[in-house]
């Protein structure tokens, strides 16, 4: 990459990350948490019983680290054609959520407590910021933490929740309670085969943009804790 181009790009990422940028990153990281939680049932059990919101929530509750493979498709108004990416989501209750993107190029972002971290290995750029407690992100993070801890009432503080059992699958729809301008989200739909964890999540934004995640549980590994620690260290530049 041309040196001046690279520098400008670095600066550009640096511009946003500490505030507005971080809100979006945080939202993504929050979504990581949600996706990981939605996969927990597949990992923990698959007994074929009729799903209810309570049973799905109970399955989501985890005290163990989790890893999910994702494929992301974004349809944006400012792009001539859809964009695709893929990688892994990680979560470690109660407070760590990580998104590790591998395609089209590696990027890592995480939420650790109230600290948000970002690392772009290609350009060797790191950022750290604190969670904006008044932002859409905080609404999402608090909600996902509620999910991680099986706290339905706290989730309901942030979203109106609709649960449907349709032919062969279940569907959860989350509608943000916050004003539209704050969250920027119109609707989050999470879908999964009956008795199975979620395999798809769609996020519809108020401006018409749309992101779809196709999810698949990654292989179990006893070394997940170490992997998460390693990613956090990489984010902090300690590797």
């Amino acid at each position: 990459m041309d040196r001046s181009k690279k520098t400008f790009f670095h600066d550009f990422r640096g511009i946003f990350y500490p505030n507005a940028y971080r809100t979006r990153i945080g939202r993504k990281v929050g979504i990581v948490g949600l996706i990981v939680l939605l996969q927990i049932p597949r990992i923990l059990l698959a007994d074929g019983t009729v799903d209810t919101l309570v049973s799905v929530m109970a399955r989501m509750h985890s005290t163990q680290p989790v890893k999910i493979h994702y494929r992301e498709t974004r349809r944006l108004e400012l792009l001539a054609k859809p964009w695709q990416g893929s990688g892994f989501f990680y979560a470690r209750p109660p407070a760590v959520m990580i998104k590790e993107q591998w395609y089209p190029q590696r990027e890592i972002m995480a939420l650790n407590g109230s600290q948000m971290l970002y690392y772009d290995p290609f350009n060797d750029v790191r950022h750290a910021a604190q969670l904006d407690t008044e932002s859409a992100l905080s609404v999402h993070v608090l909600a996902f933490q509620a999910l991680l801890n099986g706290d339905l009432s706290r989730l309901k503080d942030s979203y109106r929740i609709a649960f449907q059992n349709q032919t062969g699958h279940w569907l959860i729809t989350l509608l943000p309670r916050q004003d539209a301008e704050l969250t920027g989200i119109n609707k989050i739909s999470i879908k999964g085969p009956s008795g199975q964890p979620a395999d798809r999540m769609e996020i519809d934004l108020l401006d018409g943009d749309r992101t779809v995640y196709e999810l698949q549980a990654a292989e179990k590994t006893r070394l997940l804790d170490q992997k998460i620690d390693h990613l956090l260290a990489e984010l902090q530049g300690n590797v």
Partner: protein, 769 residues
Amino acid sequence: MPFRWRRWLFYSLVPLLLVMAGFSVHFKTDLSAFLIAGENADEILLASEMQSGALSKRYILSIDAGEGQVVAPGFVAQLLAQLQQIEGVEAVWSPGQVRAVTSSIQRVLLPHAAQMYSLNPQSGLQSLLSDQGLQQRAAMLKKAVLSPQASLIKTMALQDPLLLTLNSLRSRFGQMQQLIAHNPRYQNLILQTLAAGLDVPAQRQIQQHIRTVFGHLNVDSAKSYQLDMTGVPVFAEQTQRLITGDVIRISLLSSIALSLLFLGLFRSFSTLLQVAVMMLAVVAAALLITQSVFGFVHAMTLAIGTTLIGICIDYPIHAVVHAQGEDEQQRVVIISGIWPSIFLGGATTLIGYLALGLSGYPGFQQIAVYAGSGILLSLMLTRYVLPSILTGKRSSNIFSTWLNAWMNFCERRRTGLRIGLILLMLGALSSFSSLHWMQDLQQLTPELDALKALDQRIRQRMISSIEPGRFILISGKDVETVLQKAEQVYVRLDKLQKQGALSDYIGLYPWLLSKRQQQQNENMLLAGLTVKVRNAWRAALIQQGLAVNKLADLPYAVSEPLMLKQLLASPLQRLIDNQIIISDQQTLCMIWLAKHQPQAVREGMAGLSGVQYFSQRDLLNRMAVAYQQRAQITLMLGLGVIVLLLLMRYKSLLLTLQTLLPALSAALFILAGWAITGQAISFLHLVGFLLAVAICVDYGIFFQENRAGNLLLTYQAMAASMLTSALAFGSLAVAKTEALQTLAQVVALGVILGFLLCPIIIRHTQKIS
């Protein structure tokens, strides 16, 4: 006037004076007002802003989760919500809480992208609008659209496809990141109150509420987080607590000690009561005079002033020792007889206080007025009221045996003692080379060291590099002038950054530029957007796969410049209100500096009018040096005037020197003490030194003149005065404020030495008429 009427009138006036003082005196406890004063209009305005402006109203609250722990976001959210409910809290936010800022950028800055994009459009615009520049810009736009901040970029790109808004914000967001704690163990919050930072009662209540809310939340959430606080209101509260404690402690101790001493000396409650009422009248009247001169009385004045009662009481005590037990007519005769000595003593002390007032130390100007008026009133009451109210029988002085023994010893061994004294004085003189000055005024308030250290720790968690006490200060008649000057300063600071003399700075840009610069930016951009450039942009968008129908148009147009009031009316206010101060006559702008080389920055600003490198610590130290120099001059002047007065009185150089020598010898030994112990001398030491000399001269006068014709009785009266002075000033030693402790040491030691040296130095042969 008959004695009975005079007595009645006096006792009626005292309660009236007390009531008037109680209702009309306005007390202040802000230590900085007592210690610090700006030397020019800029510094005065700055000091006033720091004491009562937006900066003074802010706390930094720091939550510490403990080693290896992270602060839970839920806890912070709940804490923020509960803190906001506290009465008197205007706003509370996390430094990283920028939702409002983000929306303000879109609302306030985005429409002015064409005006705000550069500080120097001549150098950057041509490159940006070249074919290669536009291609790079389109590539950047694509990255941005695909980044997690796509929603924000989308809004921005539709109005500002070249993302010019980011040009100006780039550096600032990098800086904002430094404001946020990097360690998840900590979470910092900013809390702004409605009341001024120095409104201690209101701030104390708010601090209690903050602690209560935090404590309850900690318990409810089963956390064991710790809360630390800093900010002007915390320092103000702590200082007031310190001063109030000192005032109570000193007043109580000196009142009890003086009363006991008085009872011991005179064995008469009625005499104690009479003199105490006289002193109350002196204090009340002195308070009223000080209030009328300054419009307020500082609590430190009261603390030190209370001690000064110990000086004012010298005159009635001296009179009581001579006149107690005599009938009314005789009392008048006796007091009239010793009055010239008392008056001369009072005059020399008054000179000491006047010199104190001239030292330039703001608090001491008030003390000089307070104490000076106290001395004058005390002299007048001693002469004209005391003979009327004094009752009680003469008592034998419990110290008379010791005093007699000391005087006899001095008489017998005078030659030996004098030789010893000369040798000691020579020794003292030889130690003077070790005397050294205190260079840092902050050493005067070591009692606040713990708070300063906590402040430093909290700021390190929060601000990695910006130094709050050192900045570039720009002054001008209006906002536009200041902004234009600031733009010149940015250029020089950028140069210093490149040279490595400055790591970073925070100015008003990117939030605001002068109207002149905005106009220039706009003109150059609009002139540069030719058809050729627009076509090149369209081609770059197609090459990057971006939506041409949404982004090809470059909708930049002529618009009104962005004004300061627009920013101040938006949430961006929080980011800039600590950088600009506007008064009727002038406007100040502060550019905050990160790690830097002071000398290089100072030199870098040379030649810019209305621009100066400002260092709070340097200012304090400059003031310390100025105070020291003035204290030295006033000390010499004060001594000169005292010598002149004595010369006029005695018309003999020998008698004058004899009278002065006990005081000067005491002063010499005090200086030697500082030299030997290695104590750094501040102007406070000099002030104490001057007071000690002024008081000791009284003893020389009393002893020299011996107006009662009874040397033992005179020495007894001097002993009573000395003990009250030593006790009163000694009481200051219990203060936690080091400035008061310094005064206690110097004056108490000085008066004791001066008293003891009188019979050695002054050989009494005849009564001076």
